[in-house]
Symmetry: C2
Subunit: 376 residues, 2 copies
Amino acid sequence: PVPVVLGGTALWFLGFLVVLLLDRSNSTLLWTPEDECPLVLRSGTQQRHRVMTRRPGIDEVARLAGVSKSTVSRVLNGAPHVSTRAREAVRRAVIQLDYTPNHAARSLAGHRANAIALVVSEPSGRVLADPFFAGVMRGVHAELAGHRTQLVLMMAQPGDVGSYLTGGHVDGALVVSLHGHDPLLTLLHDNGLPVVAGGRPLAGGPVPYVDSDNFTGAIEATQHLISLGCQRIATIAGPADMAVGLDRLSGWRRAMSGRRTDLVAYGDFTPEGGASAMTSLLTREPSLDAVFVAADIMALGALQVLHAQGRSVPGDVAVVGFDDSVPAVPPLTTVKQDVERFGRMLTWRLLAEIEGEEGLPPSVLLPTSLVVRTSA
Amino acid sequence: PVPVVLGGTALWFLGFLVVLLLDRSNSTLLWTPEDECPLVLRSGTQQRHRVMTRRPGIDEVARLAGVSKSTVSRVLNGAPHVSTRAREAVRRAVIQLDYTPNHAARSLAGHRANAIALVVSEPSGRVLADPFFAGVMRGVHAELAGHRTQLVLMMAQPGDVGSYLTGGHVDGALVVSLHGHDPLLTLLHDNGLPVVAGGRPLAGGPVPYVDSDNFTGAIEATQHLISLGCQRIATIAGPADMAVGLDRLSGWRRAMSGRRTDLVAYGDFTPEGGASAMTSLLTREPSLDAVFVAADIMALGALQVLHAQGRSVPGDVAVVGFDDSVPAVPPLTTVKQDVERFGRMLTWRLLAEIEGEEGLPPSVLLPTSLVVRTSA
DNA sequence: ACCTAGCGTGAAAGCGCTCTCTCGGAAGGG
DNA sequence: CCCTTCCGAGAGAGCGCTTTCACGCTAGGT
């Protein structure tokens, strides 16, 4: 079959060729940047009509095991009052039939969604790109393994999320990257949905949260700079509407007590934000010799600016970051936190809350530690 | 209430204090690094027994609107054969009752999960930390908005995922970061589950995929290096068991035809991998003057090594990356791809497949473009 | 020996929807 | 004017589970 090539530059053509060469399927497609929808050159015959091999149901398991549906259900859910004989029979039947319980039916009958939401309370999805978040997600996942609970990912565009979450689609929610006095937390909490915040919420009343000890970490970082003999120590703080931003700034202030504390610039946890903060700091105080950046991701931007202005790190300016999330040139001295543990803790707490466990810790603060590398 | 402090250093105590100061709740907890489980100091009285305000069902909506359940269902699903009068009545009732359809019931009755899985086929979860993946996820999300379809995130530990996915919990799957000849794709496909791969799969037969034009991108990048007059151009390739690794390497080879093409080292798409690849390259050919790195994230590691060895970039060694995903010092010349579009395309394709649309493009190749910055 | 516990089990009633069937009535063709 | 369509609408049968509830049966107490 000779494919019809519709326009395209020489490079595209090469790309096209490589597909032909590398792809085993005998059909392909050329993508043109102008169109939002792909052009079909030759469609494969993929109309394999979903053979739906009718999955076995609980009654089939029951029949095979020689017990009733009820008993199967009990075994599946680890309920008591089941004889070992029955339990084993069911187990065998389940394996033999490769039975998987139907999630929807189970949710419907059991009045629980068997799912929790991970809500990224930021329309831009900035957090997603943050290595910190990736680690948290891994932790969440790790903790979820074993609990037959799905992880539903949501990005909050204000409004739509609230009703979805309180609509009974999930049993609980993990809310991260909460800004300012976002009413989301209160909304969920008032609706009786178990919620745990990742990072101390500025508003939200008695909602439990898990957070890193940002305050102490910032103190350590700043003290390190001081112990190095730095004289003019600036800081690039996080957003003023997030606890993580405020706490790290507080730590810096505390450690700097007795010194000059006006060299503060705010960033938004992006490299660009870090870069412009650094620029403004340098303009205000060209002779600064150290900077505590409230996030490695911002430090990246700061380092670019420093480099562009020909200032050496740590020679001219010592830099300490926070998060231990990204490799940089030179390698950053930074405050490390165990992000995966953060995620696990978050999830553990939420699941416990959902189970209705008593005497749960209202909130958890995870320790941080300074990692000294090259940049300071 | 006077909290009991169980051990802890002065710093912890400060952290503890800041919680007391900043937190409105009158209870808190001290976290000790030794324990895997938090110590409860004073538990809040959060036993607000989930007031389950009995959500309205479809029959209540029907009653209020003065129609039957069937009609409400038709309106909700945009089915034809509904009078405008009835449609409006239902719409009003829905709003008045703040009705949200029950996801589980709908799935059960409708024989569809109303959910798709995003499968990260990598136990380590390495991809999660990749900015590339974050962008894809944003795209997936954007495309999903409007379709009442949930996004379920899964990290594949071989074995467990397959049965889950084919177990009818999701209507389709997006599989990314597939290594080598992973049987997952074939497994899913053979079970009739709609699947779309993110990145060309090495195995998997006729499974549709979306990929960036890695081959062409790599050619452009390498040609840029050549046009700069570089003489000894090396490459740090991606894993040899992933198409994205192979294709970028092929592109480099193609552009290098007629030149020396033995300066190849492999990395694993991590900064550490990039660093050790760079080290080995430098050992083998101390006089190399350019390197095409198959991923920005690896370039970061390479830059660290170059810096540590006192080689300037781009003065001594020109560096070109791929992905345009991370800021570096100096800013990387790199091959940019529209990751969000990648995610949207992936999702669009999967949803179309699920809907059973005809004449779908078997695969899609998205264009890339060179972004020239400082590093080359 | 009788009564009470309480364990192991099965029958059956839903959970809140979708979807097939059915049916009256309006529109259109002969 | 009658018969065929077809549209709008309702009744009702499940979807595959969980969960009372009721039942027989074995132990232990008196």
